[in-house]
C-alpha cells in the first residue's frame, strides 16, 4: 500500500514536470491537438499500470512520447473501420522514425508560437496558451477571466478548428518573422500578467494565479529563446509582482507607489528582476519592456520615496519616448521631470502635452496636472483639474481617491 502510494506520488511529479513537454511533442507527431491530448492521457494510464511492475524508465519523457504515439496509432486504426482517411494517417505515423531525445525540447516553443499565432484573435491566443502551454483547465481559465466556461470552451474549440482548417503551422517562425511573432507572444504573456495584477478587488485570489502563470510562461520562453526583450518582460513582471502585498489596503483601496510600505516588497523577486534588467540593458538591443523594467528597478532600489533616483528615471523615460513616442509615455516622463526639477517644470511639460489633445479624455493626465497645481499652491487650477479627472474616471477606487484629494483642497 505504502509502495503504491509512493509510486502514485512519483507519477504525479513526473506528470507535473513532463506532461506539457510530452503533449507538445505529441502535437507535432500527430498533427492534432485533440488526438495529442487523448494520447497523453493514454500514455500516463499505461505508465500507471506498468511502472509499479517494471519500475520507472530511466528517461520517462521519450518513453511517454513513444507510448502515446503508439496508442494514437492504435486508436486511429480502431476508428479506421468508420473512417477510411484515418488509415492513411495511421500508416504515415507508423512509418515515422523515433526522434532523438534532444529534438523534444523545441516542441514547447513550437506550441507557444502556434497558440499565439497572429491569425487567431487575441482572446483565443490567451485562452489557448493557458490551456495548452500552461495546462490549466478550461474552468480555471474561465473563472480567472470571469467568463462562463462554455464561452471559453467555445473560444478554444474555434481556435483549434482554425488552426486545422487554415493550416496554421506547428513551428518556430522563420528568422525574419521572429521579432514580430515574438512580440505577439510577449503581448499575450503581459496581458495575462496584467489581468491578474490589475484586479484589486473581487475574487482576487484566482486572478493572482494568472500573474504567476504569466511569470512561469516568461521563464519558459526565456529558457527556450534567450532574447533581451523577453528578459526585460520577465524582469518587469517580477518587479511589479514584488509590490503585490503593498499595493492594496485591507479595504481593497489602491495604494500609490509613494505611499506603499516598502517592507512588504518581495526582496527575492526584486533581486531576480534587477539582475535580469542588468543583463537585458547590457545587450545592444534594449526594447520597451527592458526600459520599463529598468524604471521599475530604479523604484525598487530606493529604500524610501525621497531616495528615488529621479534623474535616472527621467533618462529612461526619454529613451522609452524615443522607441515608443506615445502620449502616455510623455505624460509619465513629465511627472518624472516634476519629481526631478520641481512641479513648475513638470507642469510646463504637461500643459504642452495636454495641448496636443490626445490625452484630453485621459483622467490620469488631469489628475497629474491637479497634483502639480496643488503643490504650487494654485488651488483654483488644481480644483478644476481634479473635477475634470473626476468627470472622466471610471473605476470606483480611483474615484474615491480623487474625491478625497479634492476635499483636502477645500
Amino acid at each position: 500500500m505504502n509502495e503504491s502510494l509512493q509510486m502514485q506520488r512519483q507519477v504525479d511529479a513526473i506528470y507535473r514536470t513532463e506532461s506539457r513537454r510530452v503533449f507538445a511533442t505529441l502535437i507535432r507527431l500527430l498533427g492534432d491537438f485533440d488526438l495529442a491530448e487523448e494520447a497523453l492521457h493514454d500514455a500516463f494510464a499505461v505508465a500507471m499500470a506498468q511502472w509499479p511492475r517494471d519500475g520507472v524508465p530511466a528517461k520517462p519523457r521519450p518513453w511517454l512520447v513513444s507510448v502515446g504515439r503508439f496508442k494514437a496509432i492504435d486508436n486511429l486504426r480502431r476508428r479506421t473501420r468508420f473512417d477510411a482517411s484515418l488509415a492513411e494517417l495511421a500508416q504515415q505515423l507508423d512509418a515515422q522514425p523515433d526522434l532523438p531525445d534532444d529534438d523534444l525540447e523545441d516542441d514547447r516553443l513550437r506550441l507557444i508560437f502556434t497558440c499565439c499565432h497572429p491569425a487567431l484573435p487575441q482572446e483565443a491566443q490567451v485562452a489557448l496558451t493557458l490551456r495548452e502551454v500552461c495546462g490549466l483547465k478550461t474552468e480555471e481559465i474561465a473563472s480567472a477571466f470571469l467568463l462562463a466556461p462554455p464561452t471559453l470552451a467555445q473560444r478554444i474549440v474555434r481556435a483549434k478548428a482554425k488552426i486545422r482548417a487554415a493550416g496554421i503551422p506547428y513551428q518556430v517562425p522563420a528568422l525574419e518573422d521572429l521579432p514580430d511573432r515574438l512580440d505577439t507572444v510577449m503581448q499575450v504573456i503581459y496581458l495575462v500578467f496584467n489581468e491578474g495584477y490589475a484586479a484589486s478587488s473581487g475574487p482576487s485570489l484566482t486572478r493572482a494565479d494568472l500573474s504567476g502563470e504569466a511569470i512561469r510562461l516568461g521563464r519558459l520562453v526565456l529558457e527556450l529563446l534567450p532574447d533581451p526583450e523577453v528578459m526585460g518582460l520577465l524582469a518587469l513582471m517580477l518587479l511589479q509582482e514584488s509590490r503585490r502585498q503593498a499595493r492594496t489596503s485591507t479595504t481593497g483601496d489602491l495604494i500609490l507607489l509613494s505611499d506603499q510600505n516598502r517592507e512588504l516588497w518581495n526582496q527575492e523577486q526584486i533581486a531576480e528582476g534587477r539582475s535580469l534588467v542588468q543583463q537585458a540593458l547590457s545587450s545592444a538591443q534594449v526594447g520597451p519592456y527592458g526600459i520599463q523594467a529598468a524604471i521599475a528597478a530604479v523604484h525598487a532600489e530606493a529604500p524610501d520615496p525621497a531616495a528615488t533616483d529621479w534623474a535616472q528615471i527621467v533618462g529612461l523615460y526619454s529613451l522609452l519616448a524615443q522607441i515608443e513616442p506615445t502620449p502616455v509615455v510623455h505624460l509619465n516622463r513629465a511627472v518624472a521631470v516634476a519629481m526631478r526639477d520641481g512641479p513648475q517644470a513638470g507642469l510646463h511639460l504637461l500643459d504642452e502635452i495636454l495641448a496636443e489633445g490626445d490625452l484630453a479624455h485621459y483622467h490620469l493626465a488631469h489628475a497629474a496636472r491637479a497634483d502639480l497645481c496643488r503643490q504650487l499652491g494654485e488651488t483654483a487650477e488644481a480644483k478644476a483639474s481634479y473635477q475634470r479627472a473626476l468627470d472622466l474616471v471610471k473605476q470606483e477606487p480611483e474615484r474615491r481617491f480623487l474625491e478625497s484629494r479634492l476635499r483636502e483642497l477645500v
Binding site: A119, A165, A166, G167, P169, P173, A174, D177
Partner: protein, 119 residues
C-alpha cells in the same frame, strides 16, 4: 494546401498608371510562383461598376446591377496558390503588389474530390 488570396482595395485610390505598374509586378510574382510550383491561377477583376449579381428565389432568377455588398473596399483580384501552410501563404500575400494599397484576405480552399482539372 491550396489558398485563395483575395485582394480588396478602394478602386478610387489608384492613380493613373499605378494600376498598370501593379499588374506588371503581379505578373512577375505569378512567374516566380510558377517556377516554384505554387501558382494555380490569378487575375485582376474589372471595376465593381461592371458587377452583376444573380440569385435564384422560388424558381425565379433575379438579376441586379452591382456587387454582392456595397463596401468602401472592393474585391479587385485574386491569386490562387499552393502553399506549405498559413505562414507560407502569409509570406506570399505580403509579396502581392496590391497589398501595399489594400488588404489581402487569405482563405484556405475546401478541397473537393471529383473536380475536373482546370485549363
Amino acid at each position: 494546401m491550396k489558398y485563395m488570396l483575395l485582394i480588396y482595395s478602394d478602386e478610387n485610390v489608384w492613380a493613373e498608371g499605378e494600376q498598370e505598374r501593379c499588374y506588371q509586378d503581379s505578373v512577375k510574382l505569378t512567374q516566380d510562383l510558377q517556377a516554384k510550383g505554387q501558382y494555380l491561377g490569378a487575375s485582376p477583376l474589372q471595376s465593381v461598376a461592371t458587377a452583376t449579381s444573380v440569385r435564384m428565389r422560388d424558381g425565379k432568377r433575379l438579376v441586379t446591377d452591382g456587387p454582392f455588398a456595397e463596401t468602401r473596399e472592393q474585391l479587385g483580384g485574386y491569386f490562387l496558390i499552393e502553399a506549405e501552410d498559413l505562414d507560407d501563404a502569409i509570406a506570399i500575400a505580403g509579396r502581392i503588389p496590391a497589398a501595399h494599397k489594400g488588404t489581402v484576405e487569405i482563405r484556405p480552399l475546401v478541397e473537393l474530390t471529383g473536380l475536373p482539372p482546370g485549363q
